[in-house]
């Protein structure tokens, strides 16, 4: 008989859960969001949303996972079904909990592979002596598969495949493999993060140069932390804070439920969930705010940071900044920076493989190895378009639909299911069963009313994003009878490619028109791939359901 899957230790489970939550966004998305949303004022709505939406959703996902696990389910389709067995449609909402993981893994493993490659390049001294433009161009060449940065043909594809093989071989060892990586990766990530954060916090104005005479890390810290209380009244800031809390905790993905489904009912989830959640906050708020922005402001000045803050800084700017520390320290800093990003990435991508493996084992009797390698193959097939057509927008399209929209839709559905259909009475008992802490009873009210409303606001905010994300003007226009003008980034206009169509209509150069039309083709292709994946998983869920009906096990 096959061994039953189980976690090795409680600390291992918490580190794996924290590793699932800690991702590249902790170091790159959080400080950028803070800069774009009022600096120090952002942290106040951020922490409020963490307490009102983040922690409650963690408790919801941990408890629904354990509830489903008791009934033999280790993936969200039948976990959701077990919460409300009378209504058949919940299991199709649960498809999101497998779909999102596979689709996100398809592009996430590509980013993870960049970090592997950049660790290698840091050790090899590739960036030594490069100026800022050369470092940025290096990245552009790297993601263009037709060019090579090192002479290795198709380097980006090669590292992507290596990264996938590594993930798959760890996953084939089951939860113990995942736990081992978390136990090694998380302490190293925190250690590397602390070393770099100390450097960021103590850099001061020692990085000023002739090119950037006023550069100072203190300016970066001032910008991040000076409270601008007027922005507390801005809905945009609150939506950005809620969105950041939501994405940083890996909520709405289905991987938390999967991990929690291996916990017995007499064991705690209340303390475990809170501990893993706050560990993520430590990495995000303390380490995430102390590395990229202060170091970049310390060498390039705060004006440059405000203008250029974004995800690309990690790869296009940081190696150049490390060069200021001399070749040996630059190599160490590169290994620590890209190493911590690698550990942040792999502990998350491993979590993305487990729902698929759990589903195929529960429903079709697949072994761990078969589940892991099939996951690897699917991710490779779906991920290659993001590698080969990165510059044509396939990567961004996956990120938008699978890594953003799906999460919010799924989390909104599960919070309503838990609090209103399953019922707060039963739900509260589930959360507290076996608890090593007593969850404050105010959370009964928060989970039932505040969390779903906040999630609904995040969803509606994305659906109807007003022009230039200016909510004050949008409401003024609405109440004065001038209607609601949508921004091209709103879900409604984004889905209809309004931005691309506008660009094509405004372009006069035939080459630019051709490039934009090509992009439109690849964007549509990416959407069809994602739709196909969702329908294929739904078909598997239907097949599993019919099988359960015929075997009378549902």
């Amino acid at each position: 008989m096959a061994q039953k899957e189980a976690w090795g230790s409680r600390v291992g489970l918490i580190l794996a859960m924290a590793g699932n939550a800690v991702g590249l966004g902790n170091f790159l998305r959080f400080p950028v969001q803070a800069i774009q949303n009022g600096g120090g004022a952002f942290i106040i709505p951020y922490l409020v949303c963490f307490l009102l939406m983040g922690i409650p959703l963690l408790w919801i996902e941990w408890s629904t996972g354990r509830f489903g696990g008791k009934r033999g389910h280790h993936s969200t389709p039948f976990i959701l079904n077990s919460l409300d067995p009378k209504r058949r449609f919940w299991k199709y909402f649960g498809v999101f909990g497998i779909f999102t993981n596979i689709a996100v893994a398809s592009y996430y493993c590509f980013i993870e592979s960049w970090t592997m490659s950049y660790v290698m390049h840091s050790i090899a001294g590739t960036f030594e002596g490069m100026n800022q433009t050369e470092v940025a161009n290096f990245f552009a060449r790297y993601v263009d598969v037709m060019k090579s940065t090192t002479g290795i043909p198709y380097e980006a594809v090669l590292f992507f495949l290596l990264c996938l093989i590594l993930n798959t071989s760890i996953l084939s060892r089951g939860l113990h493999g995942v736990e081992k990586v978390a136990k090694i990766g998380m302490p190293l990530l925190i250690l590397f993060g602390i070393i770099l954060a100390v450097r960021g916090l103590t850099l001061g104005d020692s990085g000023a140069s002739i090119e950037h005479p006023t550069a100072s890390a203190i300016d970066g810290l001032n910008f991040l932390w000076t409270p601008q209380f007027d922005s507390l009244l801005n809905l945009k800031v609150w939506l950005a804070a809620a969105g950041q809390v939501f994405f940083t905790l890996s909520l709405g993905m289905g991987s938390i439920q999967c991990y929690a489904s291996y916990i017995e009912s007499k064991d705690d989830i209340a303390l475990n969930a809170a501990s893993a959640g706050f560990m993520n906050e430590f990495v995000e708020v303390v380490l995430g705010s102390s590395i990229v922005i202060p170091i970049a402001a310390g060498y390039l000045g705060i004006d440059w940071v405000i203008e250029n803050a974004g995800f690309g800084m990690a790869f296009q700017t940081m190696p150049y900044l490390f060069n200021n520390w001399g070749p040996v320290l630059a190599a160490f800093a590169g290994v620590m920076w890209f190493g911590l990003l690698f550990f942040a990435g792999i502990t998350s991508s491993l979590a993305m493989g487990t729902p698929w493996m759990g589903f195929m084992r529960d429903e079709f009797g697949w072994s761990q190895k078969k589940g892991a390698w099939s996951f690897g193959i699917i991710v490779m097939i779906l991920g290659l378009p993001t590698v080969l057509f990165f510059n044509q927008g396939v990567f961004d399209e996956y990120d938008y639909w699978a890594g953003t929209v799906s999460l919010v839709v799924f989390a909104l559905a599960e919070s309503i299911l838990f609090a209103w259909v399953f019922g707060m009475g039963k739900g509260w008992k589930e959360i507290n069963e076996g608890g090593d802490i007593k969850v404050p009873s105010i959370y009964k009210f928060i989970i039932k009313y505040i969390t779903p409303v906040l999630l609904l606001c995040v969803f509606l905010g994305a659906l109807f994003t007003p022009l230039n994300n200016d909510w004050v003007s949008a409401f003024n226009n609405l109440f004065s009878g001038n209607g609601w003008q949508l921004d091209n980034s709103s879900l409604i206009l984004y889905a209809s490619n309004a931005g691309l169509k506008e660009q094509i209509a405004a372009a006069t150069d035939p080459n630019i028109i051709s490039t934009l039309e090509e992009k439109m083709f690849y964007v549509t292709l990416a959407r069809f791939i994602l739709l196909g994946l969702f329908l294929a998983i739904s078909a598997l869920v239907y097949k599993a359901y019919r099988r359960r009906v015929s075997e009378n096990t549902i």
Binding site: Q3, W7, S9, R10, L13, W225, M279, F282, V285
Partner: protein, 47 residues
Amino acid sequence: MNTSALILMVVTMTVVISTAAALFIKVLRTPPRAEPDSYDENDDAPR
């Protein structure tokens, strides 16, 4: 750093670090439940 930024940074980081540490210490100090529990490292025999 200006005073308001310094205060907000120190207060926020202190709250986050102390809460994260307190919760994790509570996890480490809580004795394991009687077997069989969810974790197999402390089992007498492998499952």
